[in-house]
């Protein structure tokens, strides 16, 4: 078991965390809160002296500033790899090169527990056909798990076609979904664990509250 870094979420999950060496998909509408779940997962990794790596399509300074809101020290030892649609070795345009270069980077890391965050899934779907992305992600996830990593990846709802989103959910061992729920004049963010390897599906929704660098989940009854 690998702690999610969020006490409430650890309690919601049967095994008190994500399964070891698993890949978890965080799905939410853009800006609705999938990234903070990943930041707190990484923050806990720093606390446990795990090896931490971020594969991001954001500028790294922006990522560090976002993470700092959740108490992640900008000086924390982590590998940050910026993946743009450019001509760098980690270009999202060339998936073969990207895989080879990530592999090289992973080989340099210590063999103990690894926590990896991937946030370029939505960008990949903008650049490549769904089938190509599917094949690439299947290979990458399997390789990272074989190397002892627990992976969280974020995906923006709406940016990706629904069929592609469903196929990604199949590839990952777990899927946590955030939805914006509108009831009359009330608009609230909800979270549910849609799928989790070796755990009984519960389908319960929880009210999501992000404040002061912390995330809390409360029972939600319609």
């Amino acid at each position: 078991m690998v702690s999610t870094g969020i006490e409430d979420l650890d309690h919601i999950l049967e095994d008190r965390g994500y399964p070891d060496r698993s890949a978890i998909l965080l799905i939410s509408p853009p800006g609705a809160g999938n990234a903070p779940l990943a930041y707190l997962f990484l923050k806990y990794g720093f606390k446990c002296d795990d090896t931490v790596m971020c594969l991001t399509s954001k500028p790294i300074t922006d990522l560090l500033n976002d993470m700092a809101v959740f108490g992640v020290n900008k000086q924390s030892p982590a590998q940050y790899i910026q993946c743009y649609a450019d001509t760098s070795p980690y270009s999202l345009n060339n998936l073969t090169n990207l895989f080879i270069n990530i592999k090289k980077q992973i080989d340099t890391l210590a063999a103990d527990h690894k926590r990896i965050y991937i946030d370029f899934l939505s960008a990949l779907y903008m650049l490549h056909p769904a089938k190509t992305v599917y094949t690439f992600i299947c290979g990458l996830i399997q390789y990272l798990k074989d190397q002892g990593a627990t992976i969280v990846a974020s995906l923006d709802e709406g940016v990706v076609a629904l069929e592609a989103q469903r196929s990604m959910e199949m590839v990952f061992d777990g899927a946590i979904e955030i939805k914006i729920f509108e009831e009359r004049f009330n608009i609230i963010p909800l979270m549910r664990v849609k799928k989790m390897m070796s755990q009984t599906p519960s389908y319960n929704y929880y009210r999501l509250a992000v404040s002061k660098g912390e995330i809390h989940f409360h029972d939600f009854n319609t």
Partner: protein, 244 residues
């Protein structure tokens, strides 16, 4: 005696104000439900612009008889200045969102550099609005400088809108999100309507194109309410039913 036409205009005006008030409320509610700063700001300024439009239309619809009085003219100048600032911040928040979604991370249309100039000129024009205010208060006499200020203001506003439309169109090609596309389309149409309103208003007044107290170009504001409503609906995908 109130004519049927005036009752009809009052009803249309009230519906427009309600639609704008709802758009504003929805945008602010969505802001509270979001986490990421860029998206929260976009929702905030969508709500702010809808609030501004609701206030402006409410003033035209419910207080037409006081238009022309000194206090209202001063209020109108303040609102006009606020419009320019709100529009600049709102456009900037929109562009920040689309820039963050661009996997190429290109500075399309040199927006990052240009926005500083846009800001500077916006603030300058807002500061210039103090001259008409001083004239209205009787501190200074009418001078040809007002014609210059008005022309500059109009030229800048139209240029700003044309530029924002170009930036939005440039980013439109890299955005795959249907909801985001719908938002951007509404944004573009809204900007075009504002531009038409500003360009046509003096012509409309000169030709005396009025229905009761309303200038003919005010009808364009009803269309702007529709686009703002559409934008408040396109901020983020929502669910209205809980399903397994």
């Amino acid at each position: 005696m109130i004519s049927t036409l005036e009752i009809l205009l009052l009803l249309i005006g009230t519906a427009t104000v309600l639609a704008l008030a709802y758009s504003s409320f929805r945008a602010f509610s969505i802001r509270r439900a979001l986490y990421e700063k860029t998206y929260r700001q976009r929702a905030l300024w969508t709500g702010a612009f809808a609030t501004y439009s609701a206030l402006e239309i409410a003033l035209i619809v419910y207080f037409p008889h006081i238009i022309g009085s000194l206090a209202i003219n001063i209020a109108w100048l303040i609102l006009g200045s606020a419009l320019l600032l709100i529009l600049t911040i709102w456009a900037s928040s929109n562009i920040k969102v689309v820039v963050s979604l661009d996997p190429y991370h290109k500075n399309r249309m040199k927006w990052l550099q240009t926005k500083k100039i846009v800001w500077l000129i916006s603030i300058l024009i807002v500061a210039m609005n103090i001259a008409p205010a001083l004239y209205l208060l009787g501190y200074i006499d009418y001078a040809p400088v007002f014609t210059f200020i008005n022309t500059l203001q109009l030229t800048f506003f139209v240029a700003l809108l044309v530029y924002l439309i170009s930036v939005a169109l440039a980013y439109q090609s890299v955005i795959h999100d249907k909801l985001m596309k719908a938002y951007l389309e509404s944004f573009l149409f809204l900007l075009i309507i504002l531009m038409l309103n500003i360009v046509l208003s003096p012509v409309s007044s000169a030709l005396g194109l009025f229905i009761g107290p309303f200038a003919l170009t005010d009808s364009l504001l009803i269309l702007s309410a529709f686009f703002l409503y559409r934008m408040s609906k396109s901020l983020v995908p929502v669910i209205t039913k809980i399903s397994l």
